[in-house]
Symmetry: C2
Subunit: 491 residues, 2 copies
């Protein structure tokens, strides 16, 4: 028994190490790779994926899994087995022909989507999307005998169901709409003025990363077109970007990615290269990036410290005092684009996409009717009409690359962050005194202790329940948003 | 038939792509990797090496090779088969137990060697080196029924023999010693004075790289402790280093690495990821780096242009005119260390090591007598005594990591560069007019056409013979050195 487990884990660790290498190549591609190397890199990545796929479907996995009696293992062993069994079943369930057809179709689809978006022409993308939806439904059916959407969701938020998520999202929606409506009826906070030296932004952004506990000896910060975090364990790198006129883009991207990166850096070292050695779900991952970025980073206490740092770095930038600064970094504004949305409306964007993709997968909505459905729901949620497809149904890349089940994890992350924030503040009543001095140590230590160190040991909702003492719900997030924006906007 | 060849080559290309990934990780480790990531990276590299080793000894290779009739293939196919057959035979010839014992011993030996070097105590390293020599002799015997040194040499300089090399080196030695003796009897050229801004060095070094035809859209230049070139095809990166008081360290390291890098960049694109897709031998590789660095880069014509560029970048640096500058960049000086040696004495360093390691492998010299043999030969070649082991037998890492057969390729590269230089100048009689304007186009195009594009298509000596119209010999290099230093030192 023990022998099969040891063999399995040795094999698994090697696969984990190879997976880290693939991730590092992705980082290189976005930061360092000479542009002329793209065709060669594509072949290198394909070779790496081929090796990884062969390992993930290696028949020896099946033999080892059959030979192991989980009950003889300790908690860590059982958790490893749970992950490995599930991955193996999923990876071997999808017929090779379907997998290659999906890879081929989604690879082609990205160009077609980008072209359609540039022309604001959903009709020219619809036939392609229809094929992708059909293939994803086929994939979902191969993966599970149950609900098709749940089968796909499981890749990003293991053990969650669309209906459970819908119940929480449905409870959020009217409160979000009411709050958005009230806030947008009030005068808009001031904006920053002037230009912000990009080298100084990078200096302050590195300081912010360290302030939030990011270990620079096991990571690095570079510039890239899109901010991201990459890697696990001892080598977790982040990227950020700078804009001369919008310093918050850089600073809050960095804090967000530092949340992701600290989660990966702080997982128990013993789990390195095993299924427990990275964040347990996209939702829990997003809870860490969001609580760093919003509940801590955009809170009244921390922003008072950041205001001082920015004045020191950049001189006067048109904001008179801490209260004004707090309102500026939390500004709520009209807009069509998810990635530019504020803390309230971001969730409205996600709820909209979740509802539509769930309906598509469950056969309740046809691709032919998708644009109209999008536009109708958008007006209901945001109070005004979509002006063009690139601001509407064509704005996100996700569906063109076959990502169905990914969107809800963004708001699930916010929701988990809301739950964790209440528990953390209960445990640390004087936290704001620290944060006002730019000291996040107590907050990040609490998150490390209660969430991050565990990696993939517990199921996502069990982890949140264990950390907070209650089942996850939307109520703490909504209470927090109503209180925060009620105060800022004097509602 | 064709089918087995296609299958073999598809497999081989994937192995090639994975090999490129391993190389890229090595680059990352020396340039970008956070220092705390070292233990994790070691495991990632081990996983990658495990995958590569398994592919290189995969029994399917044997089956495909048995099924293919080489005579049915074209020239490229036959060359591929020649490389693949040879690699497969070598990789499967070494017993797994011996391979792991060698890996274990050489991994431990590096620390023991470094410790011994820091204490100038060869005796504390000798027992370890003795074990390594014994294991390498065992490896050589497994690889070939012939000469043990030749069996190891074949890894770095395929199809060469120690005796052929010895014949050429033996003809070089008295001429090198006589030249060294005469030159060191003359007054030393001036040195540069002042300090050289490191950012300006990096700017000029990137310009130099482009001047020598390095394609920046398929490469990049970074700083690292040791200059190196890494990768093949569309992604060939180099590193350099800077010293505030010695700008030539940066510039000539860069030109040297650009020689290696251009060779890799200029290989026929069709050979990507195949055995023909990288430089054919260490000696031919070194011929490219050396001819860029020395015959072109340290020539009278090119240095006159470089002198102007440096004056423009740094102002006055204590050198009055082009002739003085030419002497400065070609200064010959006493010293114990190979890596700091000039164009003449570098070869004396290599000849010394080659003779010793050949004797060790052939059982003609015991490790117990190695230090004394080194010191005796050093005094014969250089004219003075070694003062301590760190300046003598302990100075190079090579033997501690099991590299036997590597040293001669350095001087073989110089020798090939000497042959190529004569042929190139015969074909391009006005070359110096171009070089004096900083224009290397004709020279690098000639090398691309006659050497670089072919990758691994021809055997090393055939390639040089084809490019120069004569069998490789030491005479052109020695004639060149005697003429060049005779002029500079007024002999």
């Amino acid at each position: 028994m023990t022998n099969a487990y040891d063999d399995l884990m040795a094999f698994q660790r090697e696969t984990g190490a190879l997976g880290q290498i693939a991730g590092r190549l992705g980082w290189d591609q976005e930061t360092m790779m000479p542009r002329g190397a793209a065709p060669q890199r594509a072949e290198e990545m394909a070779a790496m994926e081929h090796v990884l796929h062969a390992r993930r479907t290696d028949p020896r996995l099946g033999d080892w899994l059959a030979a192991i009696n989980d009950k003889t293992l300790d908690q860590v062993g059982q958790a490893n087995l749970r992950h490995i069994r599930k991955s193996y079943l999923r990876n071997t369930a999808i017929p090779a022909k379907l997998a290659s057809e999906l890879a081929r179709k989604t690879s082609m689809a990205q160009g077609i989507w980008a072209e359609a978006r540039s022309k604001d022409d959903f009709a020219s993308f619809a036939p392609t999307l229809e094929e992708i939806v059909s293939l994803k439904r086929e994939e979902a059916a191969a993966l599970s005998k149950g609900n098709l959407y749940d089968a796909l969701l499981d890749d990003y938020e293991p053990d969650a169901t669309g209906d459970q998520i819908a119940a929480m999202f449905n409870a959020m929606e009217p409160r979000l709409i009411a709050l958005r409506d009230k806030v947008l009826g009030k005068p808009e906070p001031k904006s920053v003025t002037g230009t912000f030296d990009e080298a100084k932004q990078m200096k302050l952004t590195r300081q912010l990363a360290k302030t939030f506990g990011y270990d620079m000896s096991r990571g690095r910060v570079d510039k890239a077109v899109h901010p991201f975090s990459s890697g696990s364990g001892m080598d977790v790198r982040i990227t950020t970007r700078t804009s001369e006129i919008d310093p918050f883009n850089c600073f809050y991207s960095t804090i967000h990615e530092v949340g992701h990166a600290c989660y990966e850096q702080n997982i128990n070292d013993d789990y390195l290269f095993t299924p427990l050695g990275s964040g347990v779900s996209m939702g829990v991952h997003e809870s860490q990036s969001r609580i760093y970025e919003n509940q801590i980073g955009r809170g009244r206490a921390f922003t008072s410290w950041l205001f001082g740092e920015m004045k020191e770095a950049f001189g006067d930038f048109g904001i008179a005092n801490e209260d004004e600064f707090y309102a500026t970094v939390n500004k709520v504004h009209k807009g069509y684009i998810r990635t530019e949305a504020d803390e309230i409306q971001y969730n409205l964007h996600v709820l909209l996409r979740f509802g539509l993709e769930k309906d598509l997968m469950e056969g309740k909505l046809d691709v032919a009717d998708l644009e109209e459905a999008w536009n109708t729901r958008f007006e209901q949620a945001f109070g005004y009409k979509v002006d063009k497809a690139s601001n509407g149904v064509l704005q996100d890349v996700h569906w063109s690359v076959g990502l169905f089940g990914y969107f809800p994890t963004y708001s699930l992350g916010n929701l988990y962050a809301g739950c964790l924030n209440v528990a953390m503040r209960g445990a640390l009543p004087d936290l704001d005194t620290d944060l006002a001095k730019g000291d996040t140590t107590a907050a990040t230590a609490w998150l490390q202790e209660n969430v991050q160190q565990h990696g993939g040991l517990y199921k996502p909702t069990d982890l949140i329940a264990k950390a907070t003492g209650a089942e996850p719900s939307e109520a703490p997030l909504m209470d927090y948003l109503e209180a925060k924006f009620g105060e800022i906007y004097d509602l």
